[in-house]
Subunit: 661 residues, 2 copies
């Protein structure tokens, strides 16, 4: 059964092939009118220009870290690191290519062929990202596993962590940079466009609108993709590392997670294919069923794999638990941020103004933390009861194994959002707009669920990495009775708050620059407001790009240095405390911010549907304030937490050889 | 030197005597015009009625817990518990008597004799609370120590925890109930009065104004007093408990904290007396210097005590460190929430509306967490290096030893605030109002510092109690490598978020009831707006009382049950993890909320001073939204965290006999 690992690279290449076919298929579709193509080209160019400049900065950073790892840790770690980083960047690039081709074609299909066709294209666009993430992760892990562990011997397993660190480092910058980009563009263009000038969202006269749409791509597609990719890679490598210490059957324990994600990729391809059979169904259900189909196939085949490897049923139990917890967390997120009781009650608080909306939304966000955390705690408890620390790692793998499909659904969202923007800007009329609005609304729900899922999987991955770290440094105990550990705990918690502060401040700064540029264009370009002259969106794109790339440096460097500094000052045990503190506080802050932001967003949408006075009412004005407050919560600072806790854990795992007690 | 403990009760009685003299002195002063007396009487009656009804509910609750402790833990614990609870209630009652007598006399003195006289009365009123808290704490601890430890033997030391638990239980309800009261009244009367009806703050036509002033007393005086009293008692008893295990010189280690707080009480009395020598100084400096005088005397005399007891200089170092950390935390709080750079920059963000103000304020609050936490971490690190776990306990004691004076300064704030309200309501003219405004402004700063200090001391106390707990249950290790501990950590963190959510939701609910009642009165009482008819403030007081008492039950009971449930399910080690998680997350949330609320409050005040357009401008409207959002942050949910973490720790310590491993 272990021999299956050697076919994993082939499966990964098949996955990439399917992604390429989907890409060809998307590109073949009609790109719409000339105006649509022009707008789409601007978004495409903006997104690609951002990625290129981001990757240029990251290349320098990756180069420096490569040299440090090569000298201070091990050449094998450094090599795995650089390939991990390159795979992450490649996944982001390919996913973005797919998304920026699919957006305009979704819009065109909505105009020419109706909802089914539009949904197919948007989902195919998302699947390019989903399959690329899953395939590149599987390819990298399986190849490095074969070379390092199967060829050089199991004592080389620790070098694998380099691959996860490469993924993690890229993810942090992609998430933070993308998050700052998307929200500075969004907040900036809304503040001037909607609030000051009183023109609608996505109005072509607003010079910030292209930047806003680029932001959806770089934040929600590339940022989220890098985040999930990192969890995926991190959880598998953490589980392999823990499995390496399982004595005589360690090879079976180490190969299982690789076989599981290989099965997961196959299941995802089947799930994506099953889409075609569900024509005419309601789009939200289609997206949901395909995910369930893939999860069920993955679990069934994994049971065979577990049995074939001669491992206990408890191991499969842990895997299943993780998969179920992922679904549970998604549903909880949907409950708190979707159009259900909590959000409807929240919308009602606008009757006494913005202050009560903010207070109630914050209370709702605080309230949403415990149920998710308890779901994670229960999954962790039983996974551990079933299969020890290995079980915790495998639960994380179970949550992420069908990433090929979950990521496809997530990446569908910004494509639908973009399609709506393009339809509006190119004046495709209310019928088309209705279809794209419908697809976009589903995208908002899947985005909220995706965020919850990203947090849940980040928490499980961080716990798995934490376990791998304690094993790697040879700690029998990280003892909370020691003052050093308690101090580490406090410092870890404080770091999450600081990074959240930095990213939120950055959005404010970058948004201010956007505001000034948009105001300037409204003031200086004659005839712009009357629709006689065109705005200059390229300047706005340029400002958002520069500002976000500049602002991502400080939080990124802080996150990288923190484990090094704390490890040096407080030792391996104190660093363990720091990781625990950061994980606990990071998960809670991430949930607080994601759910608060999501709830405010949908409270506004609920009012826009005509409740409490509808658009233009005082309630709506209050709701716009809530939505704006929620923007950096849910799309910048909250998501940054996910990566922060994983990145600090993975760096600790990589520097473990320097800290061995 | 140990014999000094036996004079501690006498010192405590002297302290109470001084408090009584101050009370007599305050009551002797002119209570002003008939109108003033009438208003003051309403506030007094409202506050006392609230306290009585609160104590009635608490009596039932205390009775039940007493029986449970008597049966399941030990009769000695139960007795200490009930006396601890009674002392806390007595301190609250006496302090409130003092405050509600001093407020109107401060107003009268400002009108008749000027700033110096007004400051003296307000500070004397605060000192009644300060000295009562310090004296009753010292009295109870020293008497129980003599009976339980000196008379029955050192093995009885664990029963002392009952006394701290009594203090803690009352504190939770006082803080939560008072916090909900004060903010529902404040938010409710502001929303209708200032925003809807457009009448100024403290306008006599607003039926909610009396309730608002009562709220200042029950929240800021009684609530804060119970909070600090609990830290004071908890830190000393935790340190005694740790000291009991110090082998042959354990008696010296156990008596030191008692002697230190006795010295602290003497120093506080000297500090209060030194006030009289500083006539003509700027009031803010006077309040600051008296605190420094007391701290310096306390540290100097403590050095003698440490030497006399034959303990190492490291012990004194830990004590000093705690004292300095307390001052440091106060200064950090002042920096982030006072009229300095951060708040001024925050005020500027109102130029783009409420949303950017909320985002920036939240970012500021997030940013403020790390410096304070790092101060606590440094103090903990060195206190531990100097004197082990005992050092951590003693650092907390050092922070709190001069509670007689720090609490006096804190309790001064709401008296000055009330005096301003009474001056406004009884139309004392702009000259008087200017003096009371000045005193109130200082009160706002001392309140912010007091909040920071309360959080810092709660954190140190919780750490000390945590150490005492691990000792009491006989745990050598609380191992973060065990999944149970990690799960405990997550659950502990989640509890703090849940309690914050509950208290914030409660404020919203209670405020809505107030809004409806005030609207009803404006609508139904003819001639009210024209000043021809009087409002009915008693109904508002009644609504706030009932609502806050009802709403305090759920969070209170949750906090009490959590350690029992988690201890039963996860065992002693898992409960240890829970305490750590709650302490870390609780401290961070408390800082976030206190500093965020304080900064928004002062940003509004800064604009009201005439910046960015001053009162009535768009910037001011945005600032009012920020201030309203900050109200439950800083005065309800934030402060609840302090007690929550202490209460859960002390309950764990008390139930330790049931969990011994």
């Amino acid at each position: 059964m272990q021999i299956l690992v050697s076919i994993a690279p082939l499966v990964a290449i098949v996955g990439l092939g399917v992604a390429f076919m989907l890409y060809k298929d998307v590109v073949k579709q009609s790109p719409g009118t000339e105006r649509m193509q022009e707008i789409a080209e601007m978004i495409h160019q903006g997104a690609m220009a951002f990625l290129k400049r981001e990757y240029l900065i990251l290349a320098a950073f990756v180069g420096v870290v490569f040299v440090l790892l090569y000298i201070f840790i091990a050449p094998k770690t450094a090599v795995a690191f650089i390939i991990g980083a390159i795979c992450s960047m490649a996944a982001g690039y390919i996913g973005m290519m797919g998304a920026t081709k699919a957006n305009v074609r979704t819009s065109a299909a909505a105009n020419q062929s109706g909802q089914d066709a539009a949904l197919q294209i948007a989902f195919s666009g998302g699947s390019i990202m989903g399959l690329t993430v899953a395939s590149l992760g599987l390819l990298g892990i399986s190849v490095f596993f074969m070379i390092y562990v199967m060829f050089f011997g199991v004592e080389n397993v620790s070098y694998l962590a380099g691959f996860a660190m490469g993924a993690s480092l890229i993810a942090l910058f992609a998430r933070v940079g993308g998050g700052i980009y998307t929200k500075s563009a969004d907040v900036g263009s809304d503040l001037v466009g909607k609030v000051e000038a009183g023109i609608p969202e996505d109005d072509p006269r607003n010079p910030g609108v292209i930047a806003d749409n680029v932001g959806d791509c770089v934040g929600d597609t590339a940022g989220l993709g890098a985040d999930i990719y990192e969890s995926y890679v991190g959880s598998v490598i953490a589980t392999i590392t823990i499995g390496a210490a399982m004595g005589s059957s360690s090879m079976a324990y180490m190969t299982l997670p690789i076989i599981v994600i290989m099965i997961g990729l196959i299941s995802s391809i089947i799930g994506i294919a099953s889409m075609k059979l569900m024509k005419g169904f309601d789009p939200a259900s289609v997206l949901r069923y395909t995910s369930f189909v893939a999860a069920a196939i993955m679990l069934a085949l994994s049971l065979v794999a577990v049995a074939g490897l001669g491992l206990g049923i408890g191991v499969w139990g842990a895997l299943t638990l993780g998969c179920l917890a992922g679904i549970g967390i998604g549903l909880l997120t949907e409950y708190y941020t979707g159009m259900f009781g909590p959000v409807k009650k929240l919308a009602a608080t606008t009757s006494t103004g913005a202050a009560t909306l903010i207070i109630s939304g914050f209370a709702l966000a605080l309230e949403s933390v415990a149920p998710t955390v308890i779901t994670i705690a229960i999954a962790t408890y039983f996974a551990n009861a079933f299969a020890g620390l290995y079980g915790i790692g495998l639960a994380a793998v179970g949550m992420l194994a069908t990433v090929g499909i979950t990521m496809s659904v997530d990446a569908y969202g910004p494509i639908a959002d973009n399609a709506g923007g393009i339809s509006e800007m190119s004046g495709l009329g209310p019928e088309t707009r209705k279809i794209t609005d419908g697809l976009d609304a589903i995208g908002n729900t899947t985005a909220a669920i995706g965020k919850g899922f990203a947090i849940g999987s980040a928490a499980m991955t961080a716990l798995a990495l934490f376990s791998a770290y304690t094993q790697a440094v040879g700690l029998e105990s990280i003892n909370l009775v020691n003052a050093t550990v308690v101090i580490g705990l406090f410092i870890g918690g404080a770091i999450t708050f600081s990074i959240a502060a930095m990213t939120m401040t950055s959005v404010g700064k970058a948004a201010m620059m956007m505001v000034e540029e948009i105001r300037r264009q409204f003031r200086e370009i004659e005839g712009l407001m009357e629709g006689k002259a065109k705005p200059d969106p390229a300047t706005c794109v340029d400002i958002a790009t520069k500002a976000s790339l500049k602002e991502m440096i400080l939080p990124g460097v802080t996150a990288v240095l923190a484990p090094l500094v704390v490890g040096t000052l407080l030792g391996a045990e104190g660093l363990g405390g720091m990781l625990a503190g950061a994980t606990v506080c990071g998960v809670m802050l991430a949930l607080l911010m994601a759910n608060g932001g999501g709830a405010w967003d949908n409270a506004k949408k609920y009012i826009e549907e005509g409740h409490h006075g509808g658009k233009g009412s005082d309630a709506h004005k209050a709701a716009v304030i809530g939505d704006t407050v929620g923007d950096p919560f849910k799309d910048t600072s909250g998501p940054a937490m996910n990566i922060l806790i994983k990145l600090m854990s993975i760096i600790s795992l990589v520097i473990a050889p320097l800290l061995i007690v």
